[in-house]
Amino acid sequence: MSETLYRIAVTVNGVERTGQVTARTSLVDWLREHLHLTGTHIGCEHGICGACSIMLDGAPVRSCLIYAVQTDGHRVTTVEGLTHPDGRLSILQDSFCETHGLQCGYCTPGMLIAAQALLDANPRPSEDDIREAISGNLCRCTGYQQIVEAIALAAKRISGEPA
């Protein structure tokens, strides 16, 4: 008994990608295994750790809790899509580097997605806003401190304040 394959077309980081997937293929597995976009990581596959966070139609969601087939016709942004097309780091990515907002790097893509969504919605977040926005993303290296600093720094830079 072979599984039914479903044809999907998804705009991933601005480019339409098509594929054939089984219904049970999670979005994160499709991104990683089929599109080789391995920047999005798997941590728990039950929606707690946030490592697999991506943006779906601009909103951060867990890609382990969405089947790829559900995203047919939608827009997905992964960490690879945060970098400028010419390869330059975004202000947020650069701020993470500046404050040492990462160590092993494993939770980082999900953190960046959550933080970018925050800054898109709220360019001047308080520390509480920042902690709330990343509270669905677990990190075991940093104790979150330098991540919070990175996001605050990025907010300052985006709004043109002296960092």
Binding site: R32, I42, H46, L89, Q103, G105, S135, A163
Partner: protein, 802 residues
């Protein structure tokens, strides 16, 4: 963009300055190279069938239905696997406690792997794993260590004859005498329940057998000493038939990324099937059968002290529930020997470590290697003595802390502390938190009806990872070196490459090596590339365990760079027909002292070394490549017959001050303030040291309040998902203030000490002390971690929740 280039506080050019980590750019762009990111054509995937029983006989395994499923290539059971491979190493002297990745005849914990399915996709492998039929006969099980020690207990490994795999009685100093002389005695029990550092990346390994070269290639999220050797040995291959690719980024380890059983299994399958095979633990496998739980320990403490606060002696009995197999985990009772009296002048210690097998998931090394639980027990002891004497816990600490002018200081168990200024660090932390104001805040909160408490911990981080606890705890083991090494190469273009022989899991080793090499050679670290060689190309390494890489890899990189520098000087001396002492080395260029025009530039020197043998001094090898292998500075000795030993060379010190408020109606604790004073000598990269310290504190807060691997009466893990195993988020971890102090180590290249376990070693103790200070007005006490809401409520209600 902006890069603040503050000057080094230590007078170095690069060491101690703010420098971005070399690793970050690839991680923030999604270009890390983790084990699960590496793929090969034709890759097959493994899923596991696991035991539902805590203890059972395997009567029969039927694999035909699973094997017949489309897409399934193989189903391996213990019968074949255990016959074709050797047992994984057993650290302690318990040769019958053998261990394979797949159980044969008997399962010893719920979640133990019984069969491995190889299929075209992980999903298909899981489908088939569900169809592996195993017939079990349930056996009595035991999950409590003391019950397992009692006569008549079910035996986890009947062939061993007992559940105890390690039991020693160390007496260091005049313990009896001190107890006899002491004005007061105090006994209590402290319990560190089972938790682990639980990285967000599970363990992943991929293997491919190359029949043409007869090499087994391995990509794994590994951080483990002797990993290639152990893999080869278990697979009955020569060591040079296993090639571990260390250029894999590891998504966090903190001690636990030691999937040796996973690797032997996958290596066997890859060779047996002639296909590349990958196993990526899912979170359920990781929590239950990934064998990465940490210490699970009870301490019975007896303290002898006088009315003025002088602590005379401690008796410490530590019973550790090591789970179903021994491995290396029992040695976690050994590291604390190196700091068994903490930072205090305690002249006599009795230490009785006991490691006990039970039907729980096997333990693995966890950040601190047993030191964090021990520090928790010692620091609870200090606070309880203070409470007993109604003495200020800070004053009691100040009275007993080793003084700055007493270093080097040798403790009763034979370890010499290299350097420190504990009083200064404590003072700095007290000043940073404005201690008198904090006390006033607490007292005000108490007057307003809240439970509020301040917790202090003053703790040590023994660092520089030696493995001398091995000969201490297993007389048949004579390990006395735990070297690390680095190779530095200057190519024809003049570019510098540093090469290390291990993987990294977030510690920034590329940044470390480039900074150190740049410092010595006076070349910009940003231009220095650092790579991780594979295990057949690499120099010896013992991996980043035991808080050692700043000391050991840093020392090795400096050693190799110095050799390069000497070669450059020798080339210049030869060409200028002068002595090396007549030369100045500046930024890689060499000139005759006082004669600026008489200069050979970096590029010219490199070209001579690579192309102009006629310009080379006669006794110098051409090409510019040097390796340096460093022995742990104080390593090399076996223990004395009474068990005195120097295990770690360097001792970092940390003071934690925590302020906690508890909503007594809901038993909800909230950490309101957190200050950590930290002295790990010279910080090669302060951002990296601070980062690890913040992270260690977060781990410690998790251990103190949230995280526990709980088991039910049937021996089933009941916190095997992230819904039940509670990793704290940015909302639970408070903002933390770190205050630095620097007492350089006299034993290391730049005065650095280790910091990989920083924060974790004191946070659990400090948080527990704060909670207990908060509870003190109600006359109740909690000495078991984690201190859950329920534990607080039970304590306040006069119940015992455990």
């Amino acid at each position: 963009m902006t890069k603040t280039a503050a000057a080094s506080p230590y007078g170095f050019r690069y060491i101690g300055t703010k420098r971005r980590a070399k690793e970050h750019a690839r991680f923030v762009t999604g270009h890390g190279n983790y084990a699960a990111d590496v793929t090969l054509p034709g890759l097959k995937h493994v899923a596991l069938a696991a035991s539902p029983h805590a203890s059972a006989k395997i009567l029969a395994i039927r694999t035909d239905v699973a094997r017949a499923m489309p897409g399934v290539h193989y189903v391996l059971t213990g019968e074949e696997f255990c016959s074709a491979t050797d047992s994984l190493p057993i650290g302690v002297d318990a040769p019958k406690v053998t261990r394979w990745a797949l159980a044969r005849d008997r399962v010893r914990y719920a979640g133990e792997w019984v069969a491995a399915v190889v299929a075209d996709s992980r999903a298909l492998a899981e489908d088939a794993a569900e169809l592996v039929e195993v017939e079990y006969e349930a056996l009595p099980h035991v999950t409590d260590a003391e019950q397992a020690m009692a006569p008549g207990s079910a035996l986890v490994h009947p062939a061993h004859g007992s559940n105890v795999v390690l039991h020693r009685d160390f007496i260091w100093g005049p313990v009896e005498d001190q107890f006899a002389k002491a004005e007061h005695h105090m006994r209590f029990r402290a319990i560190w329940n089972r938790n682990a550092t639980v990285p967000i990346e599970t363990f992943a390994v991929m293997a491919q057998w190359q029949p043409g070269t007869e090499i087994l290639d391995i990509w794994a999220s590994i951080q483990m000493p002797k990993y290639p050797d152990q893999t080869a040995k278990a697979l009955r291959l020569p060591g040079n038939a296993v090639r571990v690719h260390y250029d894999v980024d590891v998504g966090g380890s903190y001690g636990v990324k030691r999937g040796i059983k996973h690797t032997v299994l996958v290596g066997f399958l890859a060779k047996r099937l002639g296909m590349p095979v990958r196993l990526v633990e899912d979170r359920l496998e990781n929590m239950r059968g990934g064998d990465m739980h940490g210490p699970d320990r009870s301490f019975d403490i007896d303290a002898a002290f006088d009315g003025d606060g002088t602590i005379r002696a401690l008796r410490i009995r530590a019973i550790d529930n090591v789970g179903a197999y021994a491995g290396r985990a029992p040695f976690q009772l050994g590291k604390p020997v190196s700091a068994i009296c903490g930072p205090y002048k305690i002249p006599a210690i009795a230490y009785e470590p006991i490691s006990v097998l039970t039907n729980k998931t096997p333990q693995e090394a966890v950040r601190g290697f047993g030191q964090a639980p021990t520090n928790f027990a010692i620091e609870r002891t200090i606070d309880r003595i203070a409470g007993f004497l109604t003495m200020d816990p800070i004053a009691l600490r100040q009275k007993n802390l080793i003084q700055h002018d007493q270093f080097p200081y040798t403790i009763p168990s034979g370890s010499t502390y290299d350097s420190g200024d504990y009083h200064a660090v404590l003072d700095k932390a007290l000043a940073a938190i404005d201690y008198p104001a904090l006390v006033e805040r607490r007292d005000q909160a108490r007057r307003a009806g809240l439970l509020a408490g301040i917790g202090i911990a003053t703790c040590l981080e023994p660092s520089g990872g030696n493995s001398a606890f091995e000969p201490l705890l297993n007389p048949k083991n004579e390990t006395t070196t735990w070297m690390d090494s680095c190779l530095v190469r200057i190519d024809l273009s003049g570019a510098i490459t540093g090469i290390m022989g291990t993987s990294s899991s977030g510690q920034g080793h590329e940044t470390l090596v480039s900074t150190v090499v740049g410092e010595i050679l006076q070349r910009d670290p940003a231009q220095i590339r650092v790579i991780h060689a594979d295990s057949l190309s690499a120099l010896p390494s013992n991996s980043p365990v035991g808080s050692r890489m700043a000391i050991m890899l840093g020392g090795a990189a400096a050693g190799a760079a110095r050799k390069i520098k000497e070669t450059l000087l020798a080339i210049a001396a030869h060409n200028f027909e002068c002595a090396k002492d007549d030369l100045d080395y500046r930024d890689g260029n060499v000139n005759l002292k006082g004669v600026p025009s008489k200069i050979l530039s970096w590029d010219q020197l490199v070209e001579i070394a690579h192309r102009k043998f006629h310009a080379m001094p006669p006794d110098v090898e051409p090409g510019l490549q040097e390796k340096f292998t460093w022995q742990v500075p104080t390593g090399g000795g076996l223990p004395t017959p009474d068990g005195r030993i120097q295990i770690y060379p360097c001792y970092a010190f940390e003071t934690h001050i925590v302020y906690v408020e508890i909503d007594s109606d809901t038993a909800t604790p909230t950490i309101k303030r957190y200050v950590c004073g930290h002295d790990c000598g010279v910080m090669i990269n302060p951002d990296i040291v601070h980062g690890m310290t913040y992270g260690g504190i977060a781990h410690g807060i998790g251990a103190a309040l949230y995280e526990q691997f709980t088991y039910d009466d049937n021996g089933q893990l009941t916190s095997g998902t992230f819904m039940d195993y509670l990793i704290p988020s940015a909302r639970e971890i408070p903002a933390i203030t770190i205050v630095d102090h620097c007492t350089p180590s006299p034993l290391t290249t730049f005065g650095q000490k280790g910091s990989g376990e920083a924060g974790y070693l004191g946070a659990p103790a400090a948080v527990a002390n704060a909670i207990n200070d908060a509870l003190a007005p109600r006359n109740v006490e909690i000495n078991a971690l984690p201190i859950s809401h329920l534990a607080i409520w039970d304590a306040l209600a006069g119940r015992n929740s455990r």
